[in-house]
């Protein structure tokens, strides 16, 4: 049909050509008008599609994460019953923040909620994995938390996607589409965290803990707060209390509480407190770069940070920070070579800070912050 028509049009040119030309002109003009009027609608559809693509990936990550948790628990914990139902229940776990309408004592209340949550999660894991030792329980809890994070992210993105689809509101869709690249980066980080946690490999966040571990290796340690160890060492002729979370299980410990107890125990006679932590780098900065500053370099919900600031202000203890820079995708995935090199650099910086800011015979506190998974002491 088409070829015949074509042949006909070839044989009788002029008039027919003209008509065809007009038709095409009209089609292009129509297309132009359609794009003009329905441009935003088309853009909305395209954005929805982009979100949908990411959502499919997020779902795959979530499912894979869930599968990994279940198989890890089965493999390590040798449970008597199938943990699937329990894992599914835990993946829906929610934390309810304390009321902030009356902020008095909110930190104390927040700490309590965090403590209860940690205890509950660990207890659930312990019940699911009766054969696991303490280190493995901590690691499995970390695996569970990463899977939980993936599940939450997936559900939030899905919420906005479905809302956008229902309302076709450009602005609802725009909100999620704008931050989607960041969300994807974060979920990819959690996905790689799952593997690191399962194998018990040190992660980027543990850079601070690794600094402390290097300093206290081979010395006597004691437990000072929950999951937190301290060691008294001699560094550059000063007495140094080195603090880190107890490894090699996945723990962050309670560095705030530990620092508070030491400062109180020494009645404030601390010449310097140095806190070493991993910090998020800006794009363009090299991973493993070391920076110095003042203040309390402790991330997380703020409980530890608050405690240290409070006690340091009370006794006028100077606070120094040594930061090891890393990207968001490195924080929870297996530690990079550059970060290990950064740790060596950070140790030198700590020594220099002590030499320059304190006298021999002074007492200092060195706290390595971060998840100490895969790092003993």
């Amino acid at each position: 049909m088409f070829t015949e028509a074509l042949l006909v049009s070839v044989q009788q040119p002029a008039v027919q050509q003209d008509v065809m030309g007009w038709i095409f002109q009209l089609i292009w003009i129509l297309a132009f008008i359609v794009i003009w009027i329905y441009g935003q609608r088309i853009q909305t559809t395209l954005m929805l599609r982009e979100i949908e693509g990411s959502l499919v990936r997020l779902k795959a990550m979530r499912d894979r994460g869930r599968q990994m948790v279940i198989s890890a628990i089965k493999e390590i914990g040798k449970p008597n019953e199938d943990p699937t139902a329990r894992v599914d229940r835990l993946l829906e776990h929610v934390d309810i923040e304390p009321v902030s309408l009356d902020p008095t004592g909110i930190i104390r209340r927040l700490e309590h909620i965090i403590d209860v949550r940690d205890f509950r999660l660990k207890d659930e894991v312990r019940q699911m994995a009766p054969q696991a030792d303490e280190t493995q329980i901590n690691n499995l809890t970390n695996v569970l938390e990463a899977a939980l994070a993936l599940n939450q992210i997936y559900k939030i993105v899905r919420h906005y996607y479905l809302m956008g689809k229902k309302t076709l509101s450009f602005y609802i869709i725009l909100q999620i589409q704008m931050i989607l690249p960041l969300i994807m980066r974060e979920s990819e980080a959690f996905a790689s965290a799952l593997r690191a946690f399962m194998l018990g490999q040190p992660i980027g966040d543990g850079a601070g803990a690794l600094v402390a571990a290097r300093l206290m290796y081979g010395r006597e340690k004691r437990l000072i707060a929950q999951d937190t160890v301290v060691s008294e060492i001699d560094l550059e002729g000063r007495k140094a209390y080195v603090i880190k979370a107890k490894g090699p299980g996945g723990n962050v410990g309670k560095p705030g509480e530990a620092i508070k107890q030491i400062i109180e125990g020494e009645e404030g006679r601390i010449a310097l407190t140095i806190i070493i932590d991993a910090a998020q780098k800006l794009e363009g900065e090299k991973p493993g770069e070391v920076a110095e500053g003042v203040g309390v370099a402790i991330g997380g919900p703020g409980v530890d940070k608050y405690k240290v600031e409070e006690i340091a202000a009370k006794y006028k203890v100077p606070l120094s920070a040594v930061l090891i820079k890393e990207g968001i995708e490195d924080v929870v995935s297996t530690m990079r070579k550059e970060i290990v090199d950064g740790v060596e650099e950070a140790i030198e910086r700590v020594k220099r800070l002590i030499r320059e800011n304190t006298k021999e015979g002074d007492t200092v506190i060195i706290a390595g912050i971060g998840n100490t998974i895969g790092i003993a002491q």
């Binding site: 779902k59 990550m61 297996t334 990079r336 895969g374």
Partner: protein, 130 residues
């Protein structure tokens, strides 16, 4: 997510792309016919149709592209073992149960304690000049 929604969208898009492809092919044929019969080249038609064909082919390739990895694949992770006393050092692949500062036997050179000094992965990145 509704399963239907996921499948419908690609079909809709495929239809749009195919319509675009057919239209631009027709425009191209028209231009060709014009050239054969009148010896004139309709640049506008040719440019529009060629770019539309390129765009639709690109979209088709995009749609068929395999989804990028989910970030679960095993990375190459190395374990560095050092002697506490001398400068003996060895590197091997990470094994389950390894952790930093774990003691792993004695040194073949001086029979001091061997411990895991560090565990890391290496990432190859292009050198940046800015």
């Amino acid at each position: 997510m509704e399963e239907g929604g996921v499948r419908r969208a690609p079909i809709f898009f495929m239809a749009v792309i195919i319509v675009m492809l057919v239209m631009s092919l027709a425009a191209l044929i028209l231009a060709l016919v014009a050239y054969l019969t009148q010896n004139t080249i309709e640049y506008m038609n040719v440019i529009l149709s060629v770019s539309a064909i390129a765009l639709s082919v690109y979209l088709l390739i995009q749609m068929r592209r395999k989804p990028p990895s989910l970030g679960f694949e095993t990375l190459k992770v190395s374990t560095v073992i050092k002697c506490v006393k001398c400068n003996y050092e060895s590197v091997r692949e990470f094994e389950r149960g390894d952790y930093v500062l774990k003691e792993v036997g004695s040194c073949p050179k001086c029979s001091g304690t061997l411990h895991i000094y560090s565990i890391f992965r290496e990432v190859k990145e292009r050198e940046k000049t800015y």
